[in-house]
Structure formats: C-alpha cells, structure tokens
Symmetry: D2
Subunit: 340 residues, 4 copies
C-alpha cells in the first residue's frame, strides 16, 4: 500500500535527520539563539537575495498564519483572503481567534485577482459607513494555492502594486512554496517573490522537514518584540535548534529546491497516469497536488492499492480526490498507482 | 430641514422621558436589580407569551450581538449569517473580536434561505476535513433585515426547523423588530417569533428609546453567570434603571407597537412619494426603510431640504439612498419630503 | 428608607433631564457627530486647560477601562495596576478579555506608590528573561481610589515623571473624579491632572449622569481609527447625543464641580455621624465613600432604616460597610442616618 | 565549555533519534492519527494506571498551558496560580491572550498551599460583589515548581480534595515531571498524580524529547472537539508522528524514568559541589535545578568554564544563578563544574 494522501506522509528528508543526529549532543542555547539558526537565517536571506531581510522560524502553517496576521494587523483591520484560502476554510478560525476578521473575496482557481481586490478596496473607501466596518489591512495569498494553482509574475506584480498603492502588506503563504517554484509552469523565482511581497513563509513541514516554517520579513517590517508576541501565542519552540538545523540543511546545496523538483517530476508522472486512466480532473494543477473527481465506487477500488485524500465534496455522487506527490514519492509509488 | 437619515435621529419617546423624570429621585439598586427592570421583564415575557423566558437588557445592538453570540457559541463554533448581515458588515468585526468566525452565506434580499443553510450544513458535515474548520454553531438573522425585508412565517419556520434538526440555536436580531411586526406585509406576531427562535432581541434604540435592547432567551437557555460575562465585555450598565424604565414604558399599553405602527404608516407615505417622483427603488421594503438609487446631482438637490443616508455604493454613478421613517417622523416631515 | 448604598442610586441630575427633554425632538446625527457632543468636548477641553486634547465619550466605567487599555497597549504589553484596582478586581476580567494582562502591584491605601512601580520596572528590565514576560506598557491608577483615598500632587507627579522616564502612558480612572477634586484634602486641580497624566476619564455615571464617561487624551495620543475600535468592542452608542448632552450640561456653569462639592459636604456630615456613633473606620477617606467595619448584628440594626453596601469581607465576624454620599444625597437622608 | 544553562540544551535522547530514523520513510497519516501516536497513548495510560484516561500531544509547554486552560475554563472563569507560577510570569501573557485572568496567589517556595487557596475561595464566595469578579475556575500548579521544589503527597492530596470540594479542576504542569518523580525526596508516583489531579501534562521537551508534551485528561474530561480547538490555537502539528514516536519511545522500557533518574543523580553531585565551594543557596531544591546566589564577579569567573542561566534578580549585588542537570548531563560535565 502506497500513499499519495498528502505531502506530509513521511518523516524528514534523510539529510535532515543526519544533521539532527550529528549535532544532537551539542550544548546550544534555546529559543533560536543557537548558531545553526543564525546560519539558516543567513542562507535564506542569501537565497532570497535580500541581505537585510529578517527571518524567523515557527513550527506549523496555521500557527504561522495566525502569528503573522495578528501581529501585523492593527486593531481596526482584517485580512483579505480568497474564500478558498487556507485561513478562510481550514484553520478552524485561527485568525478570528486573535480578534481579526478574514475578509473573504471570491477566488478564481484558488487565486485572488488584483482587479477584484482593487474593486473591493475602492468600494470600501467610497462607502460612507466604512468606519463601522473592518478595514482591509493586509492581503493574504497562498502560493501554490490550496487547489495547486500558481500566480504568474504578472498577477503577483499586480497584487504587489495594488497593496503598495493602498499601503497594506501583501502576505504570501508558502506552505508548499518549493513545489510552486519548481513547477514547470512557474515564471517566478524565490527572489522575485521576496521582492514583490512584504512578508511570506517558506514551508518546511510539507517540503522535507519534520516541522517548521521560515518567515521572511522582506522590508525591515518585522513586528517589534516579535519573540514576546510569539511566546504569547504559545508558538515559541524551546529547542529552536530543531527548526534552525532543519532549515540550515534545506538551504545547503539547494536541497530545498532539489527535493521540490523531484516532487514536481513525480507529479508529472501522476498527471500522465490520470490522463491514461481517463480520470476526470477537477482543476488542472501545475504543482504537486492533483485533484480528480471520483464516485464512491471508484474510490473504493482505488483504495485497494493506494491511500489518497478525500479533499472535498463535489456533488452528490462525486468526491474531489487529491493525489499528492512530495519529496518522498518514489518511482515505485508511481508504479503502484499506474497499476491501481 | 427635516431628517430621514435613520431611525435614531430623535431622543426618546416623550412618554419614556416622562417616566425617567417621575422616577428620577427614587433610590434604586444598580445593575438591573431594581423593580422597574423586573416589571419590564415581566411585561416582555407576557407580550411574548412565554412566562418562563429569561429577559436581559443591554445598551446597543452591536454590543448585544457580540455578547449573545460569544456567550452562546462554544469554542470550536462560529455563527452563520448572511453576507449582508449586520454582524458580517457593519460591526467592525465585533464578533471576531470575541474569537469567533462569522460564516457568511449569500443573502437573497437580505435574507438567509433555509435551503441554502441546509446545503451548507450538509456539505460541512460530509466534508472529511471538517474538524479543521469552524463548526456552524448558531444561525443569525435580522428581522427586518438590513435592507428592510421580512421573513414570512413559512420562511422563519423553515429556518427554525432546520436549526432544531441540527441542534444549533437560531438567533434573531430585532434592532428594528417593531417596524417588522407592524408592517402591513408581516404574517408573524411577537409570539410567533418568540416560539420559533431560541434567542432574539427587541430593539429599543431604534424604536423610541434613548438606548437599550431587550434580549429574550426563549428556552431556558440563558448562559450561566450571564451577568459576569456581560461585565467582562464592558456591557453591564451601572444604572440598569435606565434600561428597565424605558422598556417598562415601551411595554405598557402597547406603546412599542403603537409607535412602530406609526412609523410604518409614515413609510407608506414615503413609498407613495417615491412612486410619484419616479425615484428608482433599490429594493422594495415593507418596513420603515426605503432604499432608492440616486445620482450625485439628484442627491445634491434632495439635500437642500432633506437629510438622508448614503446607505451604500450601487455603481459608479449611483448611490443607494436610505429614507427612514421612525416613531418620531411627523406628517410635517412627510410634507417637506413631498415638496423636495 | 434612605440609601447610602453607592453613588449611582438616583437617576440623573435634574438639570440634565431638563436638557434631554428640551433637545429631545431635534434631529441629530448619530455616533457622537452631533453639535451637543462637539460642544461638550470643547467645554471639557477648556476645563482641562488643554485646547488640543481629544475627548471621546463612552457609556460606562469598565467599558472605558477596557477600551482605553486595549487600544493603547501594544501586543506584548500589559497594564500595571494596584491589586485593589478596579481593573484588577471588579471588572470580571474585562482587560484580560482583550488579551492583556493586568500586572498587579501591592497597593498602599488603594494607591500605587511611584517607588514600588519604579522597583518593578527596574527589576523587569534587569531580568534576562524579560522577553518571556509581559512588558509593562501602561500604569493604571484610580482617583479617588476604590477605598476613597487620594493621590497628592507630589505622588501623582512622581508617577507621571516615572512613566515619562519609561515612556509608558499614565492612565487615570476618574469614575468618581469630581468627588476627588472637590475633597477638602485634594491639592490637585482638573488642570493639574490633565497635565500630569496621558489619558484619563471624567466619570459621569457616578457624578450626576444617567450613564457616560468622558475620556480625555491629553497629548495628541488618541488611538488611530478609535471610532472603529470602539465599535469593534460593542461600545459605540448610536444616540451619541445622550452622552454629549449630559456632559455638555455637566460642564456648563460648573455643574459637575458644584454637585461633586455637595457630595463632599454630605460626606463630611456622614463622617461626623460615624465619629459620634463610635463606628470603627476601615480606612479614612477624604472623599464620598466612607468604609466602616460592622458585625452582622450591627448591620441588621442599621438595615432597618438605611440601605448600605457590603463592600467586602474584613474578617470572620466583620464586614466592610460602605456609606456613600453623592450629588443626590439630601440633608434629610443625613438626618435618617444620624437617627439610625 | 560545558553547559548547565537549562534542561533543554541538547537534542533528543539517542534512542528517540534512532526511532525517528527507523520509522522515517513509513507513510503515516497526519495530525496524530498514526499508530505510533496510538501506541504512545496506550503506554502512557498504562503508566498512569488509568486505562480510561485520554491522552493528547502538544508541542511545547506554554502552548500546552494555554490550550488546556483556555479550553477547560468557562467564559466567566480564571485560573488560580502561584505568583511565581510559569503561567503567571514566564509565558508573556499567553493565558490572558485567550481572554482569561490568572488569579495570582502568593507562593511558598514556589508552591500553592491548600490553606491559602481555601481562604481565597471562601472569601470569594462570601463577597457580595463576586458576580463582578473573575470566578476561580481551575487551580494550576507545577511539579516540580519553577524553583525546583516538590509537593508532598499530603500537600497534593489537600489541593485535590479542595478542588473537588469546589468542583474546579486541578491542573498540574509537568514540564519537568520526570525530574520531580525521580527525586529522592518525592513521595508521589505517576499513578498518584494521575489519580489526584484532573488534568496534567508529562513534559517531553525538558526530559529527552526534541519537543512535545503529553496531556493526560484523567477523568473523561477532555474538552469536546479538542482537535478543532487545538487547530484554532495554531497548535496542531501536521506530522503528529513526531510527537507520537518520541513519547512511544520515552514510555518504552521506562526510558522516561531512567533518564530522569540520571538527571537527579547528576543534580546530587552538583549539590555536593555547591556545598564544597560554599556557594550560597537561594532555595534548596530536590530536583534537577539548583539555584544559587552570585555576584557579578563570581559569575564572570564561573563563566570561564561553564555556561549557566541568570535565573533572576536577587538584590542589587546578587543574581540568582541556575545550574540545571538533565538527561544529557555527563560525568565529564560534572568534573568541569567541580574544577570551575
């Protein structure tokens, strides 16, 4: 039985485990004050082409979204997100838990369109009653999006320009950033993203780490006393080395990009299999997640040899099935799927 | 210059002011422990036909929504509301401030349709990932709705049945309840509403009081230690008499209903004027608020003799204008509008 | 039966009710945009000797504390208060509800001593682990204090200097401000207070109003988008006129000070009665609240002719009894107490 | 240079790393649904002697305290803790962030005394104004305490009886639980604790794990929809296996207890060294943390060969220095300290 359930089915990339083992008995200070964490930050800043960026590590994606959004918004503000955005749907209300509204705008293939956001902002500010409303104080996007699509450089630039025009930060959730950047269809580099957005995170959990996300504040805009705000949210890891060593490894010799590329190659093979088998595609994805439509019967048959994710309800007879590849997907896994 | 800006342009109904004056120097205990408050509660329970209901008074509408929703929801729950609902749009995120999500569903003429809510609930519970989502824990509706429309008895019954089926409370925001109940098109009585919903409030601020809303828990479902929760939210009025005396007066000799009916009669005259003048109606309303579409020029002309509300943005050249009647609207006001 | 239970046993000062009646049918905009509110702000600024101050009105004391503290603190900060402070004890955790800690320091006769606060601040900043702690971001004091004592000009100046040295705002809760300023023992004027603190409120609820507190930001330090933050907390009154007219009246012809002085004169008579009767004083108070110790038997006897407050538990056999005077206390009331 | 700075200076116990490696490429479901997590739960329940207990894993200590306290308290409640408690001092206000007050009572050597808690509860309920206060809804203690002391069985039993009498849960923070249970002076077993408290956590971070705390609900009292509440707080780990495998290893062949015992043995040697060197003890500790008083000069000298923690400010010339042993402390480390 092989699994395409999600991109966090395995432990860590072996190189990471090896480094954890090699450094295991070193005495290091806690809370991210160790030299591995410092080294990881430097490597990430270099990869982003932003020597003056500020990098911080957190444990998981929902935690990161909630910490970033709630420390960057001001009291009277909320965050604009797609109705299909992770913060809108799948975080159990973590943003609202911090006292802020997620202002949901319709998504097109998982993406926020700059035009729709502009329309919202213009209408908001022309509304005489807007002092009684939640001010739009940030734009949240995910890259790749939840259904696996990508913003083009033109689309991201349009959002970036709009946000700067309205002086609100653009925040990019990169839970699967590597799988986006390494997609054959991606026309953005890490440096492009770092330049275009105000804050983003480089996902570790889904790209080879046991846990961990690297937040990059690109414009000297790290919130004051950020460590205290992290602690206040129960998000400060005592053994910060666990995050530092993992990211230091991921950003050594391009490991993060190499393993992301591997997942994309495996995804290409999955797409071929889908085509061959004639499975109905829910949304075409250039990244590591393939969404297809299946009946209960079809799922039961597939479940005999493969583990997959019931991603959502499509209609009364069809479920959206997700087949995800990741850094850990092997050629053998692909073969099992092909024969399923 | 006369005003149709909203239904809270005047002070209190003179009868209320008179009672405040008559009772002014009586020594009374604070925090709603006085006998006027007790009397008001009894009269409201009688009017609702629910001797076992529990009644509490709060100061304003947003405060009431936030207190009720946040004390009745459980940690993992949010409240379903129409995208046009007051809690969704015009409360500056007061529900989110308490840590809970407003789950917005599309409205039809300001109303939530039972069918759409059912669809949402069914989809939610059939979604395998719903433990990662905000659970729907309450349904919020307003009566009349924000644009002035009304639920019919059949519509409210359908929502009530659905909520009971799913065991979640149905909450009715009655900021303008009187204007709804006294509408010529309303087929619901106060007793019907009290029977069909789990909790609702009878608006005072917009129906003759200086301030104040009366919350009715219809099913022995008042949250435990409610007074402490009110205080915790900064919503406990020291001189509870101010609320008690006002509602005691409003529910003596049907004052609440009589002044509401007056507003509806005035609204009928406004509707006639709109018709005569050929103004374009945004949404037909059977209650005290009439929404029409006007250009900037038309508004400038109207503004010479009448104060009105720029309720919202319609399109690039038209604004939604609100003309509201209330208990304080006089025949003279109507004449000025007719001649405007 | 006469009542000395608290200073909010009666309605409003008759002059206030009269003005509410005179202005009742005027059409006025909501949310504090009316001209009475503007006039009240001007009069308060003049009385404070601070033409550039910013004044806002809220409904009640706990609400005001919670709104001010939570909009002025930053994410990583809490507010220092005396263990006996209203925010520490009697607000049901309203400050914590907004996500901020009340850092409690021991009080001496209800007062925070500058020396103790300095010691706390020095220790905090010399603690290597203070990034894991709540930063002290404001100092809260009440004037008069909860047990009725007063800060001297020297004491308040010392706190003011300390706060400025540490660049944290000094906030003064003036729920009973008039009774403090008019005390025979007070060496501070309203203008002194306005000059020495960063933000304070002038209590209306306990000094002649039906409800209402006037917040004064003395240094151009009103939080941005304050109206939206007030609304978000359910604290924005639709009929802002109710607050504006009351404070406009209170600050016309020194009404606020005259009625406060009356309460102090009545308190002096109560103190004489206490002395004559040989009742044991819990804490000597120069303001309108007298705290004495009584056994259950003594309370039962007193309760035959007078209503009073059981303010707290002293020991197993004694209760702290409060006898409060106010603007509404009459000579007749005093006679009843004398004969009790 | 060797470190006695804290008990989280090293990575994980080698046995844990080995198991992480052995299981690394297994495809496992996320969010704690894997069989290692299930096995860990079973082993912990067995070790506690409570087959019906419920066990959940979280990532860190502050997170665990904040999740447990905020999901178990009701709206009107706060948690009683010692002024020196971790939740009172060193969590940056994480409990308050969730809207609840920490009700601080004086500690005696880091411990809450049942008598003092009883006194507080009795006074609270006899106070006529307690509806305006935060209700005591839980008692929080740490074992070992922050300065390293231990509750005796008699002391814990007294607290347990008191809590049950008042029907409020007793919660034990076991960040260093192993070091308490293995102390020569401890007269409590894990099973005693599991029987006496309502909820507690077994600390992993400080006792051999990379991260992770195991929460034990001893009485069928796990909050409903706990997973959703965890997610809402950003505390749900995607790769739950990381926690499951670690605790499964720690509770195999008594590893948790064996490595805790080792730390205690090392602590005994540190205590001897302290005695020999004549260092002044701040508080005598039977567990793995030794607190001593040092001048700046003494610290500078010690710092030449040993890393230690400046735990707190004692007076103007002395700092409280912490020397902590842990599972990773070696005999060689001890020798370096002896020669320092």
């Amino acid at each position: 039985m092989v699994s395409f359930e999600c991109d966090y089915i395995a432990g860590a990339h072996p190189e990471i485990l090896k480094r954890l083992e090699e450094t295991n008995m070193e005495s290091l200070p806690g809370y991210g004050m160790d030299h591995y964490t410092a080294s990881a930050k430097d490597k990430i800043k270099a990869a982003c082409g932003l020597p003056d960026a500020e990098v911080e590590f957190l444990v998981g994606g929902t935690q990161t979204n909630s910490v970033i959004i709630s420390t960057m918004l001001r009291d009277w503000e909320g965050v604009i997100a797609a109705t299909s955005g992770h913060v809108s749907v799948h975080e159990s209300g973590a943003v609202e838990f911090t006292g802020h509204k997620v202002i949901e705008l319709p998504a097109v293939e998982g993406k926020l369109e700059a035009g729709a956001v502009r329309k919202y902002l213009e209408t908001f500010y022309s509304d005489m009653t807007h002092d009684h409303m939640v001010f739009p104080g940030m734009v949240y996007i995910s890259f790749p999006t939840e259904p696996g699509t990508l913003y083009s450089k033109a689309e991201l630039t349009a959002l970036s320009d709009l946000c700067h025009e309205y002086k609100i930060p653009l925040y990019l959730d990169g839970a699967r950033l590597g799988y986006g950047l390494m997609s054959y269809e991606c026309d953005l580099t890490l440096q492009d993203i770092a330049r275009l957005v105000d804050v983003f995170y480089i996902g570790g959990t889904k790209v080879g780490a046991l846990c961990g996300e690297a937040v990059v504040f690109t414009k000297g805009n790290k919130p004051a006393h950020f460590m205290t705000s992290i602690k206040k949210r129960g998000a400060l890891l005592a053994k910060g080395r666990l995050l530092g060593i993992q990211f230091d490894t991921l950003f050594t010799d391009d490991l993060y990009f190499r393993i992301s590329r591997h997942a994309i190659e495996m995804a290409a093979k999955i797409k071929e299999i889908i085509k061959e088998k004639g499975w109905r595609v829910y949304m075409d994805s250039p990244t590591n997640q393939q969404l297809i439509l299946m009946t209960e019967e079809e799922m039961e048959e597939l479940a005999e040899s493969v583990i997959f994710d019931r991603w959502g309800v499509y209609d009364e007879t069809h479920t959206i099935v997700r087949l995800a590849s990741s850094w850990s997907t092997s050629e053998e896994d692909i073969k099992v799927l092909a024969n399923a």
